[in-house]
Symmetry: C2
Subunit: 339 residues, 2 copies
DNA sequence: TTGTATGCGTTATCAA
DNA sequence: TTGATAACGCATACAA
C-alpha cells in the first residue's frame, strides 16, 4: 500500500503538501495540486483510515442498535439508514440489542464509533454515562415509552396515528377495541401503547388492563397470545384488534384464520407500519403508512448535525391511514369479488 | 480517555509492560501483571482501536454485500452473520450491492476491512484485482451462477433441493412446471435457475426458455410478471410454479389471488427458502427449509480461517422439503377445514 | 505557498 | 523479566 510519503516523493513535494491537497486546504498552488493528484492516481493511493482516525479521533463509523432484524419494519429502517449514512461518508455497523449487550457496548464503543443510533431502546445508566463522557451523540429513530429526556429523536406522530386508527374503527361500529402490545417498556412499541391509551380516552371508548394482549414483537408470539385469548373463550369481548406492529397484526390474523374466526366479519384487525407483508395476507391488513425512508433520512441528518456540534431539533412525521379489507367489510367484499 | 502510558505510570511499570500484559505475552511476572490489571480497572482503560489497527494492519471489520435487505431471507442471513462475527471479535458493516458501488468499494475497502462476505454477487475484475492485491479474503454465502473459481463459499445443495421440489410436484401429477427466476446472472438466484434446469432434465420433464418468468427478486415485480402471464392467456401452459425466492413465490400467489386463479386447484406454487411470510399466506407456500443460522455460522468460520491463513474448505448444506398447502390438495383441504 | 517537526496510541525489537 | 525506543501514516502548528 502506497503511503503519503510515497505520494510526496513521486510528486516531488513534501508530505505535508499531500495532506493539504487531500484535505482541500486553502493556499496551495495549482501546480502542486495537480502534481499531487497525478501522483495519487498513478500510485492508486488511498489514505489510511487507521492513521487518520488516530490523529483526528474521528472514525466515521456509526452503530445502530436493532431490536429484531426479522421484523421487516426494522430491516427497512436499517437499510435506509445505511444508505443515507453512506451518502454522508459514514459507515454503519449494527448490533442486535438486548440488555446483555450493553456491557460489551461500553467496552467496544469508545474509539470505534462517532455516534449511536437507537431504534427506540432505553439504555442503562452506566451506558449513558459512558456515552456522555466520550461525547458520543445519540439519536433514536422512534422512541421508547420512557425515553431519556435529552436524547435526540425522530419519530412518527403516534398519537395522531392511533387516533386515526381508532376513529376509523369507531366509525365501523367498534366500541371494544383490544391492543396487541409488546410487553417491554424498553422498546419503541411501548410508545405506541401509550398513544393507544390516549387515543381511546379521546374517543371516549372504554379501556382497561384486560384490553391489552402481549405479543413481544414477534409474529409467532402474537399468534400464540391470540390463540390463547380465543381458547379462553374471550372472543366476544372485543370486536377489533390493533397491533403495535404489523408483524404482530399478521400473528393475530393467523390465529383467527386457524380458529375459524372471520376477519373482518367477527373481528377487525389493524397494524401500524405498512410492511410489505401487511398487504399480502388474506385479508390485507389496515395499517398506518410509515415513511421509513424519510424517517431514516431525518435521523441521519440529525446525527450529522450533532456530530458537527450544531444544534438540531427533533422531528415528527405524520403517518396516513391505509384502510384495507381487515377492517372494512366493503373493502373485504371487493377483495372477495376479485378472487 | 486513558492511554497506555497513563496505565503504565499508575502501575509503576513501563509502557511496554502494559502491552505485554494486555496481549498475554509470556514472561511477565505475576506481580507486574496484577499491578497492570489493577491500573487498567481503575482508569477504565481500553486500548485504542485506531492505534492498534495502524500498527497491526488489522481492522477486525468485515463487510457484507447485501442484494436487497427487504428480502427476509437476506435480512436473516445478515442478522446471523453479525451475531457470529461478533462472537469471534469482528464487527460487521453492510452495504447494499449494485454494480455502481464497486468503484466506491475499491476506494473504501483498503485499510478499512479485513474480509469481504458476499451474498452471491459476481464482482468486476478490477474489484477482484484490488481484493487480491490487498490480500483481502472473500467468502460467498450462497453462490451466483458464474462464481469465480477460487472464491470460498458456503451454500445450499440447490441441485438436491430443486430435485426434491420437482419430484414432489411430479408426484402430484404436474408435468409442465415454470420457474419464476431473477433475471440477473450476477445474483445468488441465478444458481437456483441452473439447478432447476438440471432437476427438470433429471426428472425427464420438458423444459425451455418459455418456461421461465422473470421477477427480479422482488415480490411486486414477480406479481406483475405473473399477472402479465395470466393476462396473456398463458395460464393453461403450466400447472405449477417454482419461484427461486420465497418473496417471489408470494408475488406469484398474489397475482393468482387477484386473478381468481385457484391455488393449488389450478396451479401449484413453491418457493425455496422458508421465510416467515411463506407460512402466513393463504394457502401457505411449499418451500425448501434453508437453515440460515448454520449457513451464516459456517461462513464466518470459513472467513476466520482464511483470515488466519489457514486452509479451509467450502461447505454444502442440505435443505429439506416442507410440503404445504400451495402444492398439496390434501394439505389445502386440511387448511380449509380448519378455517 | 511550502517544508519541518511533533505527536496520536499502539506493537515489537533490542538491550539491559 | 523489564525498559527504552523506533516505527505505523497521518494532520497540523510553526517556521521558512
Amino acid at each position: 500500500m502506497a503511503s503519503r510519503k510515497d505520494v510526496a516523493e513521486r510528486a516531488g513535494v513534501s508530505a505535508a503538501a499531500v495532506s493539504y491537497v487531500l484535505n482541500n486546504k486553502a493556499g496551495v498552488s495549482e501546480s502542486t495540486r495537480r502534481k499531487v493528484w497525478a501522483a495519487i492516481e498513478e500510485l492508486g493511493y488511498a489514505p489510511s483510515h487507521a492513521a487518520r482516525s488516530l490523529k483526528t479521533r474521528k472514525t466515521y463509523n456509526l452503530t445502530v442498535l436493532v431490536n429484531y432484524l426479522g421484523d421487516p419494519f426494522e430491516a427497512g429502517l436499517l437499510n435506509h439508514l445505511e444508505e443515507k449514512a453512506r451518502e454522508k461518508g459514514y459507515f454503519i455497523h449494527f448490533q442486535t440489542y438486548y440488555p446483555g449487550i450493553e456491557k460489551d457496548l461500553r467496552r467496544s464503543v469508545p474509539g470505534r464509533i462517532d455516534g449511536l443510533l437507537l431504534l427506540g431502546q432505553v439504555l442503562q445508566p452506566e451506558t449513558w454515562s459512558m456515552l456522555e463522557e466520550e461525547g458520543i451523540p445519540v439519536v433514536s429513530v422512534t422512541r421508547a415509552g420512557e425515553i431519556r429526556q435529552d436524547t435526540a429523536w425522530v419519530d412518527v406522530d403516534w398519537e395522531d396515528g392511533m387516533e386515526k386508527l381508532i376513529s376509523h374503527l369507531a366509525e365501523q361500529g367498534h366500541r371494544r377495541i383490544a391492543l396487541m402490545a409488546n410487553g417491554s417498556p424498553n422498546h419503541p412499541h411501548a410508545y405506541r401503547l401509550d398513544a393507544f391509551f390516549e387515543g381511546m380516552r379521546k374517543q371516549g371508548l372504554p379501556m382497561g388492563a384486560e384490553d391489552i394482549l402481549y405479543g413481544k414483537g414477534r409474529l409467532e408470539q402474537a399468534r400464540e397470545a391470540m390463540a390463547a385469548y380465543i381458547q379462553a373463550g374471550r372472543l366476544g369481548s372485543h370486536s377489533a384488534f390493533i397491533a403495535v406492529s404489523d408483524l404482530m397484526a399478521a400473528g393475530v390474523l393467523a390465529a383467527c384464520r386457524e380458529a375459524g374466526v372471520a376477519v373482518p366479519g367477527q373481528v377487525s384487525i389493524a397494524g401500524c407500519e405498512n410492511i410489505l407483508m401487511s398487504y399480502q395476507t388474506t385479508p390485507a391488513v389496515t395499517v398506518l403508512n410509515v415513511y421509513r425512508l424519510e424517517l431514516a433520512s431525518r435521523a441521519v441528518d440529525l446525527m450529522i448535525k450533532l456530530l458537527n456540534g450544531e444544534t438540531a431539533s427533533n422531528s415528527v412525521l405524520q403517518a396516513p391511514l391505509l384502510i384495507r379489507a381487515s377492517s372494512d367489510r366493503q373493502a373485504a367484499g371487493r377483495e372477495e369479488r376479485e378472487n
